[in-house]
Amino acid sequence: MSELSEHLRALPLRILPPQLLAARGRLLGGRGSGYLIERHARAYRHAWLILVSGFFEPLFYLLSIGIGIGVLVGKVTGPGGHLVGFTSFVAPALLATSSMNGAVFDSTLNVFFRLKYAKLYDAALATPMRSGDVALGEIGWALIRGGLYAVAFMVVMLAMGLVHSAWAVFAIPTALLIGFAFAGAGMAATTFIRSWLDFEFVTLATLPMFLFSTTFYPLSVYPRPIQYVVDCTPLYQGIALLRGLTLGYVGPGLLWHVLYLAIMGMAGLAIAGRRISRLLLR
């Protein structure tokens, strides 16, 4: 992360008077993004109910499936061809989806609102903060928030007996990785957004992924060609990873999913880092 932040700030060192260099070090020691995170943490003190409510959404889904749909479905074929309870099958997918939705929401709608209406970045950029600090801060906040939800969700999964393997300790870093991938992509997408109407396209990407990336039933339900398509979606990578970890089917194959998500996040960040100045510094 710190290497990336250096890259994003992209300012070559120059020969400067020593007191100025000191000022630069003191002011901009890569902490600019931290100050934005501090701002968000403070703002949410006044809106803590919203912060808390974000956790309940996946929880309601989980309960609805546990009490209702799970009873209608019974058992399904999980990874490795073993039968698992429907709720155990869907729970990791809900965690992946909630990580995706949270990261996308934070990095698109929230960022756009702060950019165009709250003028939050106009204020920040009148200070030594850089556009790169803003981008990193937003992604960092999205990850912190997503991380909190992931921890809470895992606690509920444990309590409901939906965790079947010790590998599940890796579920939280994985949820963060999913958040990173989607926050990077979302931030990049935001630099292309012109008006609120464009957000329809964001939903157009996330809703089908939520419904079709093996959230509710195994890949085998689909005909072959569609299986390949689903196999390529980013959310599927996250779901496959979390499902493998919580159900205890872990193999080297999972590393491909990790690689996919890591590249997606970095690529998004690189595009956003390149374009965000154009957005903020007219």
Binding site: A23, R24, H46, K119, A126, M129, L281
Partner: protein, 312 residues
């Protein structure tokens, strides 16, 4: 070796947005301790100039040096030493008054302890101590502007940039803001401000440039500008609407340095207003109202551009 007292130097400074040239090759210098103004109507290029000085808008051409640094390369280092009070309040409505100063100070990398100490002082200075823990949104326009000014001072800036500091405020709130800015000026803070109010420019600026359509039309102190581009007194005459044009033709025969016929008034630029009024009456004209006043920057602007400041 540049003069150490020159804080900002611009030469041929230009800003283009596509085909539109907002700032068209302007030259100016800002010296330490002075209050320097850009006077001009809306759309003259003042805000674009301020944004370039604030290092959030890269110049399209020319040279700009701020505190001896290049704004394109050293934006953050320059901004660390500037205070910016933008035209539209960019206050954080999700935070309280105090938190606005805290977070803004954090953006400068200041320790919380230092910010807390300065916040107490600054809120006192802008008379907002009692509202410290209130949300920002319900504050009046004048209070918000004062809070923005306090916020721009949190880093104890070497230059304070004010873009239209009292636009949109009621007369009473304007005077409170002027009073605070005047105190800052007396404390030796270097001010650079834009305005389209000539009274604001006269009250606050030691030196100013008149800007019109992206170019600088004249430069000097308010007094110098008035002396150079206007007469000591102005006679304002108002006739009945139906007689307006006819009267204007006749008034032209009265002796004056210059005459301006506006939509609703006729202005005569003269040395002695009362004498001029007597001369007008001697021509057999009886205006509905007449007013003798001293020349203002408004007259300077009218002379330089042929338009009034409010016309834009």
């Amino acid at each position: 070796m540049p003069d150490a007292d020159i804080l900002i130097a611009a030469r041929g400074l230009t800003k283009r947005f596509g085909d539109f040239t907002a700032v068209d090759g302007i030259d100016f210098e800002l010296r330490r301790g002075e209050a320097f103004g850009f006077l001009g109507p809306n759309g003259a290029g003042k805000s674009s100039t301020m944004r370039m000085i604030g290092c959030v808008s890269p110049p399209s051409g020319g040279e700009l040096s701020i505190l001896g640094l290049n704004p394109v390369l050293d934006g953050p280092a320059i901004r660390a030493r500037l205070g910016v009070c933008p035209q539209d309040d960019t206050l954080d409505v999700e935070l309280t008054v105090r938190e606005n100063l805290l977070i803004y100070g954090r953006y400068f990398g200041l320790p919380r302890r230092v910010i807390a100490e300065r916040t107490a002082r600054l809120l006192d200075f802008v008379q907002l101590t009692e509202r410290a823990d209130d949300q920002v949104d319900p504050l009046s326009g004048g209070m918000k502007r004062r809070l923005t000014i306090a916020r721009s001072l949190i880093n104890e800036p070497e230059i304070l940039i004010l873009d239209e500091p009292t636009t949109g405020l009621d007369p009473q709130a304007r005077h409170v803001v002027w009073d605070r800015l005047f105190r800052l000026k007396q404390q030796g803070v270097t001010l650079i401000l834009t305005t389209h109010y000539m009274d604001e420019a006269e009250q606050l600026c030691d030196r100013l440039v008149v800007m019109d359509r992206g170019k600088i039309a004249a430069e000097g102190s308010p007094r110098q500008l008035i002396e150079a581009y206007s007469t000591p007194e102005v006679l304002e005459l108002r006739f009945h609407v139906s007689d307006h044009e006819q009267a204007a033709e006749k008034v032209a025969n009265a002796p004056s340095e210059r005459m301006e016929v506006l939509a609703d008034r006729i202005l005569l630029y003269v040395i002695d207003g009362d004498a001029a009024l007597a001369a007008v009456r001697a021509l057999g004209l009886e205006p509905l109202t007449s007013l003798v006043r001293r020349s203002t920057l408004e007259d300077v602007f009218l002379r330089l551009t042929g338009r009034r400041l409010e016309d834009g």
